[in-house]
């Protein structure tokens, strides 16, 4: 276990080396947060409530999803694909540690860094620019939200890892990248809250694993699920995290056998 903790710590430190890029990213996220909150506020001029979201909840959703972008690497993460392309994957496979665990530990370190240096600053910006709806039951909601955030990272990691494995079969991963982007932005509740969709589509999207990446943490933070509903929501998210990680593990083994067949 210690080796994984060390990998995570190293990944955190590696992020710290890109301090300037982080600052620029913070600026970009804040700017987009502003651009996207303005039409949303305008939407609430004609009615006080859209599918259970009031103005403050929608504003908070907007800034929250901006702050989650880097935590779940929404715009893509292709480190595994790059090692497959360069052949470095052979060295990674030769390490006496679990291959999926190796990448997961690094991703957790990366996500932890983003939580401290992106998530918190963006929420502060959101609070200053448009005022947020903070949890009314902080002692319950914050721990539940943190659990949900961890599960979101795990689910998104497994999904991104699977997309990366696509590089074993397709030489150019960029086409997979743009289709993957649709899944993680549109189907996840990043572009609009899933509650805004027509009822049938909404229930389908809420059942898919992509909701676990963005919508579920947002729902928990906004306290839109309480008591038994909250437990069920987190259980569903946990279920997706386990299933997706399982598929990623199986996919990795399948792909690695292919590498052996090719002779590396």
């Amino acid at each position: 276990m210690r080796v994984y903790a060390e990998l995570a710590r190293r990944a955190w430190q590696r992020q710290r080396a890109y301090g300037n890029a982080n600052l620029a990213g913070l600026f970009t996220n804040s700017f987009f947060g502003y651009i996207r909150v303005v039409p949303l506020i305008a939407a609430f001029a004609s009615r006080p409530d859209i599918s259970g979201y009031d103005r403050d909840a929608a504003i908070t959703w907007n800034w929250l999803v901006q702050s989650l972008i880097t935590i779940v690497a929404l715009w893509g993460w292709w480190e595994v694909a790059l090692t497959i392309r360069s052949g470095e994957v052979a060295i990674d496979l030769a390490r006496p540690i679990h291959y999926l665990g190796y990448w997961l530990a690094r991703d957790v370190g990366r996500a932890a860094y983003s939580t401290v240096y992106r998530f918190i600053p963006i929420l502060i910006v959101g609070q200053l620019v448009s005022g947020l709806r903070w949890p009314e039951a902080p002692w319950l909601t914050w721990p539940a939200f943190l659990c949900s955030l961890v599960l979101a990272v795990l689910t998104s990691f497994a999904w991104r890892f699977l997309l990366n494995l696509g590089a074993f079969w397709l030489t150019d991963y960029r086409a997979i990248a743009s289709l993957g982007l649709v899944a993680t932005t549109f189907l996840s509740g990043f572009l609009v809250p899933l509650a805004f969709f027509p009822p049938v589509i909404r229930s389908i999207l809420e059942a898919l694993p992509f909701a676990a990446i963005i919508q579920t943490p947002a729902t928990v933070f906004l306290e839109r699920a309480e008591g038994m509903d909250l437990t069920l929501l987190l259980a569903q998210q946990l279920g997706w995290a386990i299933v997706m990680l399982g598929v990623a593990h199986w996919g990795a083994q399948f792909a690695m056998r292919r590498v052996t067949v090719q002779g590396g």
Partner: protein, 278 residues
């Protein structure tokens, strides 16, 4: 620098064709990329329509009217990306020192960067923008096209692409000075096109002013769209109290002035370029 003895426009065309041919060697990958960009953009547009499924208007703008702004912004941006990607991709070249080689070749630096990466695959975004414009003219009821509408639209899309292109040039100039600035520039390029996808009158005063006088996004689509839709703008948003039509027609001048400034800034950045020592 002595005048190059090649005719630059024809050299550009040759390089661009070579680019496209090179891409077409992996035909499936190339077509998948166009499709990927198209699909990603379409879903972003659908997300907007989902919001409009819940409300009839945003600040007095209907779904069709916002779709017009959206489509014009996307079409202009797609053209600008296709021609301006060389400037966008400059940061890694500066970091690796590859850019230094550009400086020793006997061709203008601006031309070399401009010609280095023509991106035909951006047609995916262009088509999506065109579909949004088509939607805006057909929903909820079809609006007939007049010759003047076509003129305003064509002018606006070309003008808008010049404005976005100039922004890419400024971004390139920035990359020559600040090595780690790529994501910062994205705010103005991608952020610019996103901002322009919504009615400018929704935004606060400082943003409106900046989008009129500093980065002239209002000329990309907002003023032309007001003219096309025959909309009345809120007080104080039209510079000098000019009519939307006048502003739409003067947009090419604004775009050329802005491009001129961008080229001057670029040239000065090249003169001052110091490299990274790698």
């Amino acid at each position: 620098m002595s005048k190059p003895d090649v005719f630059l426009p024809s050299l550009y065309i040759r390089l661009a064709i070579a680019r496209v041919r090179g891409r077409m060697r992996y035909r499936v990958g190339f077509l998948l990329m166009i499709l990927g960009v198209f699909v990603a953009n379409t879903f972003e547009f659908v997300a907007l329509l989902v919001l409009f499924g819940q409300v009839r208007e945003l600040g007095g703008w209907s779904a069709g009217e916002v779709a017009l702004l959206w489509g014009m912004s996307q079409m202009s941006f797609a053209i600008a990306e296709a021609f301006g990607h060389g400037f966008e991709g400059l940061a890694p070249q500066v970091r690796s020192g590859e850019f230094d080689q550009v400086l020793v070749r006997p061709l203008p630096v601006f031309f070399q960067v401009f010609a280095s990466d023509f991106q035909a695959q951006r047609i995916g975004r262009f088509l999506q923008g065109a579909m949004a414009v088509w939607y805006s003219r057909s929903s909820p009821a079809p609006i007939p096209w007049h010759a003047s509408d076509w003129t305003i639209l064509t002018f606006a899309v070309i003008t808008g692409s010049v404005i976005f292109f100039a922004t890419f040039v400024l971004g390139g100039a920035w990359a020559l000075r600040v090595v780690d600035g790529q994501e910062f520039m994205n705010t103005f390029t991608y952020g610019g096109t996103t901002l322009a996808s919504y009615p400018l009158d929704l935004f606060s005063d400082p943003i409106r002013r900046a989008a009129t006088w500093i980065l002239p996004l209002a000329f990309v689509n907002y003023f032309p769209a007001l003219a096309l839709l025959g909309r009345v703008a809120p007080d104080g948003i039209l510079p000098f109290g000019l009519t939307p039509i006048t502003l739409a027609l003067s947009a090419p001048i604004v775009a050329l002035v802005y491009l001129g400034i961008a080229v001057v800034v670029w040239d000065r950045s090249v003169m001052r370029y110091q490299g990274t020592g790698t």
